[in-house]
Symmetry: C2
Subunit: 123 residues, 2 copies
């Protein structure tokens, strides 16, 4: 399999293929919560309540749904420990680690974008 071309001038077929790869990625990482969730769990495993605090604004219903989808797609593990009451900890799978570069680039871009917006507002 040939590596994906990084040349700025590419054929229509290559462009369509690259667009498809990006769409494939966004298909499984859809919505505004999955990438922040995976990032947050990459930093440290967390309980449901901790995730709610870090993802300020997410409703419990949506958090349950997003975690289930991430579990089904192999990014998150839900571990139940037999304490009284039981302790449930969410952690990332090794596969979630393949998103490291995506998450870092998004984080850096988001930071710079906010700085730009702030600087534009001061003008």
């Amino acid at each position: 399999m040939e590596p994906i071309s990084r040349e700025p001038v590419i054929s229509r077929e290559e462009c369509t293929a690259s667009v498809r790869h990006i769409r494939d990625a966004l298909y499984v990482l859809n919505g505004k919560w999955k990438l922040p969730l995976i990032f947050s769990l990459t930093e440290s495993s967390k309980r449901f309540g901790e995730l709610q605090r870090v993802l300020d604004g997410i409703t419990p219903k949506v958090l349950v749904k997003e975690l289930k989808e991430l579990e089904l797609n192999g990014f998150v593990l839900r571990k139940v420990y037999p304490t009284t009451p039981v302790t449930v900890i969410y952690e990332v799978t090794p596969y979630a680690g393949t998103l490291h570069n995506v998450l870092n680039e998004l984080k850096e871009w988001g930071y710079k974008h906010r700085e730009k917006i702030k600087s534009d507002m001061r003008k």
Copy 2:
């Protein structure tokens, strides 16, 4: 301003800040079309019909809406040339170029993810 820490072990404040940067990025790049659209226009400026073909499955109504939002947020320019009938070409702004790394990482991840899914299905 200090650079963002890349250490795996970070404090809760740093984790929350990093999650916020990712959410800031996804806030402006929301949905399944904006990143593929920007990528497609980064490769070459395009007319509306060409964009529709590359973004297979997008409806004209949604494409109009997405392009307007990208224009408002400074990622896309709509250029009108005085031909008969007028020619409208969409192109990216230099600011859209700041998404280069994000787009490349997503593209590579999407490609590898599809390969993984295919290989999982063969098992």
